[in-house]
Symmetry: C2
Subunit: 209 residues, 2 copies
């Protein structure tokens, strides 16, 4: 049933690694729209080899950010390990935003919110479940307002995304202020009725927490 993924020849593997490293670097620095030729050149490899390993730009993007997306799962676990529910919640969101703030490509990827690969799909759902748990815990501790859902975390990701984009070169840390303001809006003391229902589950993908 499963395809037999015969291992790459040693030089091919080396080139693949170089391409990934080059892409990671250029994506982080200049965003995911850099010219493919630049990536190949930066990897010390020809144009054709790049297309040979990664037929489309999306293949390359997916390969580059796979580990980053996995890392997010680890972050939730770490947040759940925190004694203080609110601190855990805030810590998780801060960590995610730090990813966005330090990697332009990653910021663009979560902002674009493309449908996830079937592989990432499951990981995604697991993470969402864990986040729900994280939020429930904070809610029960009286630290989180009752009318927000996991889907509302997309607003955090979206909002910080743009702020980082604009202020990255001028005031690289102000996004923390934006985040703090937004988080104060998640507290029960501030809760006023919300005008719209939350986003239906599954409408957003990468951006959803």
């Amino acid at each position: 049933m499963s395809s037999a993924p015969r291992p790459l020849r040693s030089d091919a593997q080396r080139n693949r690694d170089r391409l990934l490293a080059a892409a990671r670097e250029l994506f982080a620095e200049r965003g995911v729209d850099v010219a493919m030729a630049d990536i190949a050149r930066h990897a010390g490899v020809s144009n054709g080899t790049l297309y040979n390993r990664f037929p489309t730009r999306e293949d390359l993007i997916e390969a580059v950010f796979a580990d980053r997306l996995e890392a997010r799962a680890a972050l939730v676990a770490q947040a759940l390990a925190d004694d203080d529910p609110w601190r855990g919640f805030v810590g998780y969101l801060t960590a995610i935003c730090e990813f966005q703030a330090t990697d332009r490509g990653f910021n663009e990827v979560v902002a674009r919110d493309l449908p996830p690969s079937p592989a990432a799909q499951r990981l995604q759902e697991e993470r969402q479940a864990a986040i729900t748990q994280l939020m429930d815990r904070a809610r029960q501790a009286g630290a989180l307002r009752h009318d927000v859902t996991v889907e509302d975390l997309a607003f955090v990701v979206c909002g910080i995304s743009r702020t980082v984009e604009i202020t990255a070169g001028l005031a690289p840390q102000v996004w923390r202020r934006h985040l703090a303001l937004l988080l104060d809006g998640f507290r029960p003391e501030a809760a006023h009725p919300l005008p719209e229902p939350p986003l239906p589950p599954g409408l957003l993908h990468a951006a959803a927490g």
Copy 2:
């Protein structure tokens, strides 16, 4: 001192109007990166005429959105006319966000935050002064937390900008929920110390409220 702006020939004026109308429409629909040729075609005019009237894309963008930017000034006045300071404040921000939500091009323009034209510069400063007044009033009424500044409104514009961008096709009204959450963070009941100083004045242009 002032250059003598001799009036355009009648047909030239007509073509100019058509170009502006076409650009307004296509910008709103597809964003400010539409092909110049598309705009010309949509206006029923040749490529050369377009470049004749508007040598650069920026010239065209500026001409198209000049009135929109003026309209924002009117909005502040309207907000100040409201008896309830908080309602006025919220109404103003909501109105601005509605601009962004209904016009993709406008949303992109405020998000790009290019340095304003010298003409818009003064208008900008006047508006900022009026907004400061609007915020002071709300603060004195005990409706707005004390540690936020005009510059913090950029977070509203930025945040909603991205949310609108992503959700426009799926849930065109959810940005109101995002805005409501963010605004609850502006209330004094929720106020917790902010981690970063506000943006220095003048760093951001269009996005700053």
